[in-house]
Symmetry: C2
Subunit: 585 residues, 2 copies
């Protein structure tokens, strides 16, 4: 036995296997996932596993490595989120999302930080040694709403598109703010004195981190699109480029201390439409499938690890600090959403209702990002207290809020997502209105959303498409593409429907008459060939032959006289077979 040799890949494979099997297990019982969100179940599995490891080894189970989380587990989820981001609602609400993500996060960080510092001044709680900077640092890591946790819960409750994109978009874009504030406060903690220059540098850094991430992402995205122009002869490696370039954008951004999440999202959103047009249909299926698969596995692993890491001896319990952290997280988020939405609603016709505001505030789940950041803290004497508080906040938000949000959505009758996809007619009208509004904005001189969208579209079709698309001379409209897709889907459905209608007659007949597969042969021998001359079977046979062996009569005699090869052209014949079949349906 040589375990050492294969240990690393073996253990990785086993963890992934465990995650996948856990997922299967939950879905075997249909009722369970409808009550408890999957994320809770996975954390629960993790807790049990952590308990087992702790019990067997008598020492703390291994904690989720922050490097593994940020380098390997987070990127697939964010890539998936970015690639499948509904771009229309996202860009329609980009202003609101940015307000929540930037101002809202800063509000939460300082709100939580200062009020916890206030708690620390109470002598009875024995927390006077926790400085203001440490509290702000803690606030910066605990304030960030987690995209993984939000996605896990919101994918199951099907709220309306706008509400979903507001919470989810915020959770993605607040990464830039979190990164800057976290690193700022961490470096402040290590500095002897803080100059005002440093504070201003921090404010400037925010723009560098965010915009730099977008820039890195878009450049990698466009390079990816450009690369897929040349893969016509080797379709098989096409999906690879989508993954490689997005991952490189993430790593490059992380390398330069920019926001990796923002970079990978810009990369995915930038490349999507060009890559989709360049690569083959099968490649695209593979890309979509693998992205979903990877993100699903990463997601599962993160929650399991979260559970495993909770068990152990790296916690310092302090009732007041932990309780007040949870309370302040809730209060400041609610206040922030209320205040910000008040301003947002003043400038929008389509306002955010108070029900939606409640769900936005309530959906601010914390997750693995906070957890990884708290372990990345430099060692100081109260680190274990911070770890305990973070763990409690995560478990509270994921379990209590995650489990009650679905009943609350039902109770409040929050507007749900429409079930059906928009019809082609609706899509055409939406397009039409877009162009109309762009025209109105152009004439009225108002540089609004539609104006910029139109300009961008013009730039895209005039320059970008020519560079990035393989067949740029005839750019297909998305409606035509949709039409083709529907047509194809339809044809498959028809073929399958035809199949299903004949299904019960076919296999049994083919099996017994032509195939004589060994088991059938045995059966026939056992029955002493009793049912072979059965008139019913013969009728059935004739009917199937008449239906399927089309034109056998016509080509039969013609074959001997003048066999014109063009006469029974295969596609022509096949076409008529299909038509005949559909008629017979």
């Amino acid at each position: 036995l040589d375990y050492q040799h294969v240990q690393v890949p073996f253990e990785i494979t086993l963890w992934i296997m465990l995650a996948s099997l856990a997922k299967i297990g939950f879905h075997l019982y249909n009722k369970l996932p409808s009550v408890v969100p999957e994320s809770c179940l996975l954390i629960f599995v993790g807790l049990i596993m952590g308990g087992i490891i702790y019990g067997l080894n008598d020492r703390s189970p291994p904690v989720m490595d922050s490097d593994i989380f940020f380098l390997y587990l987070l990127p697939p989820i964010v890539l998936d989120a970015g690639y499948f981001m509904p771009s229309r609602p996202f860009f329609e609400n980009i202003g609101t999302i940015l307000l929540y993500a930037v101002v809202g996060t800063i509000w939460n960080v300082f709100g939580i930080g200062f009020s916890l510092y206030g708690i620390c001044q109470v002598k009875a709680f024995q927390l006077q040694d926790v400085s203001l900077l440490h509290n702000l640092l803690f606030g910066s890591l605990i304030a960030a709403v987690d995209p993984v946790a939000v996605l896990a819960v919101f994918e199951e409750i099907h709220v309306n598109e706008k509400l979903h994109i507001l919470v989810f978009g915020e959770s993605l874009l607040n990464d830039a703010v979190t990164v800057v504030l976290y690193k700022l406060f961490r470096s402040f903690c290590e500095m002897p004195t803080i100059k005002s220059v440093d504070v201003f540098a921090g404010v400037g850094q925010f723009f560098v981190v965010g915009l730099g991430g977008i820039l890195v992402g878009l450049s990698f995205g466009f390079t990816a699109a450009f690369t897929t122009r040349f893969t016509k002869d080797i379709r098989v490696i096409e999906p690879l480029f989508v993954f490689l370039y997005s991952y490189l954008s993430y790593l490059t951004a992380e390398m330069f201390h920019l926001s990796g999440i923002v970079a990978i999202i810009s990369c995915a959103m930038g490349m999507k439409r060009y890559v989709e047009a360049n690569i083959s249909l099968k490649s695209h299926t593979t890309v979509k499938y693998f992205m979903k698969m990877w993100s699903s596995v990463s997601d599962t692993l993160i929650f399991i690890f979260l559970g495993v890491s909770t068990i152990g001896e790296n916690h310092e319990w302090n009732w007041p600090y932990i309780c007040f952290t949870v309370i302040f997280c809730l209060i400041w988020r609610a206040l922030g959403v209320l205040v910000l939405t008040f301003f947002v609603n003043r400038f929008h016709v389509n306002t955010i209702t108070s029900k939606d505001q409640f769900i936005i505030a309530y959906g601010g789940l914390r997750g693995a990002i906070c957890f990884s950041l708290v372990f990345l803290l430099p060692d100081f004497h109260r680190k274990k207290l911070f770890i305990a508080a973070t763990t409690v906040v995560i478990l509270f938000t994921v379990f209590i809020q995650g489990m009650t949000i679905r009943p609350l959505v039902d109770l409040l009758a929050v507007k749900r997502k429409r079930e059906s996809a928009p019809t082609v007619g609706e899509q055409i009208h939406i397009r039409f209105l877009d162009h109309l509004l762009a025209g109105i904005e152009d004439i009225s001189g108002h540089w609004g959303q539609y104006y910029w969208k139109d300009k961008l579209e013009y730039f895209n079709s005039k320059y970008l498409q020519k560079i990035l698309l393989r067949e740029y001379d005839q750019p297909k409209s998305s409606i035509v593409l949709l039409y083709e897709k529907l047509e194809r889907k339809h044809a498959i459905e028809l073929a399958q429907a035809g199949q299903l209608a004949h299904g019960p007659a076919h296999p049994s007949f083919l099996c017994s008459a032509f195939l004589c597969s060994s088991s059938d042969r045995t059966v026939i021998t056992d029955q002493k060939l009793e049912d072979t001359p059965n008139p019913e079977v013969l009728d059935n046979m004739q009917e199937i032959l008449a239906r399927n062996l089309y034109r056998i009569r016509r080509t039969g005699p013609a074959y001997n006289r003048h066999t014109l090869p063009g006469d029974s052209e295969p596609t022509e014949r096949a076409k008529e077979i299909l038509i005949l079949r559909h008629k017979s349906l």
Copy 2:
């Protein structure tokens, strides 16, 4: 800049990216791959990169790590090979393949080992210090035909199926022999005295390694098939199980010092038919696509690394030893094939022609397995000589033999692979003959190939399918599955053909009439709406409307009077649209 933090994933991604871009580059020039095999080009790229690294750093570039090769690069290729192995020719020729793989490899090992020992006895060559055991150890690593190199060359020359499976099957199955002999001689080298018990243990070990590999592989394969029974609700992680279980089978086999290659091949071949039946069509596309993609990337990386690792200072040059190694490799392989084929042909009606024998002997390419094994040798004073000899043999076989085998196949007019797939009629007849032969063998009491195949098929349909398939009550015959597949393919083709026929008219019409996408709008404005009332366009419009907006007249008036929702049932209507379209073709 924080490069340290992201170094590992960043460099891995860059290497894969380099490999993919190199592949694209070669395919941009269509003529190049038809003359020089891709493997040669990739080694060449590796040599150049190695030269650059050597020139810049002034020290040997990093050598391909044997662990990375055996744990990460080899499994995807072997999995791909096993999964797409044409099982019929493989099992039809299993006897011959095993003879070549087992007896042939042993023949080569001892032939090369002993004759090189003979060369070492010549005083003028200054090689007296290389013992017989060391020569046999060297023989055991240099005798193994490499599946990666064979696949890379034979996939391009399209020889007939039997010839291909003979060479390729041998290269896969000789792994068990190579593993045993290599480990045996390596342990003998370290033993003070060798007892006859050890030799017998070695012979016994061969069976353990080979059969153990099959057992491990099959058990993981069946577990994988069983697992996919329960993935109906979460289709998205289905492909994962195929990869996870196969990789686990490889790692488990390696862990117990069994043959990992044999294990992963048995796993893939064992699971294939059940998994295919259980998972969805899209999952299956993803599995196939990703397997091909991964193996293609691994393959590329292996050859590039092979090139990079060749450059450096770990070679000891000894002309006679290296030249005689190349010569003996050629001679003993040729002799082995001749002798073994003589016996094979005596017992078979369908003999192996002398042309085929030549190609089998000539196709014995060495590759990365030898290279990795030679670096795994324990340190002794002549290791560098062995490394040099191995490198020369690999480069000689890949470059000289790999580049000349295609012209030789053309020159000898070796029977090629048939281009077209067998028709359904042919397949039915082959099945029929199989059953007939099984019956004849059963009656005549001859327990031949067909008898066993029939028994296996019976066992499969009676027990295995019931356990491993989700819908076991109605097992579909492979002919029915083929029929469904053809039907589906056909429907897609028809839809696309219909699309293409309308293509030129549609997009332009739709764009100008409905969509008014910004660029079109600009164009129309430029043309001052001149062509809108063009009668030709109007005719075109009417024709398209008549063709596509089916039943618009009938549902129009009916809508106001008695709107029966069941009247215009969507599937019914869509069906008739498709039929109308096909008629109009």
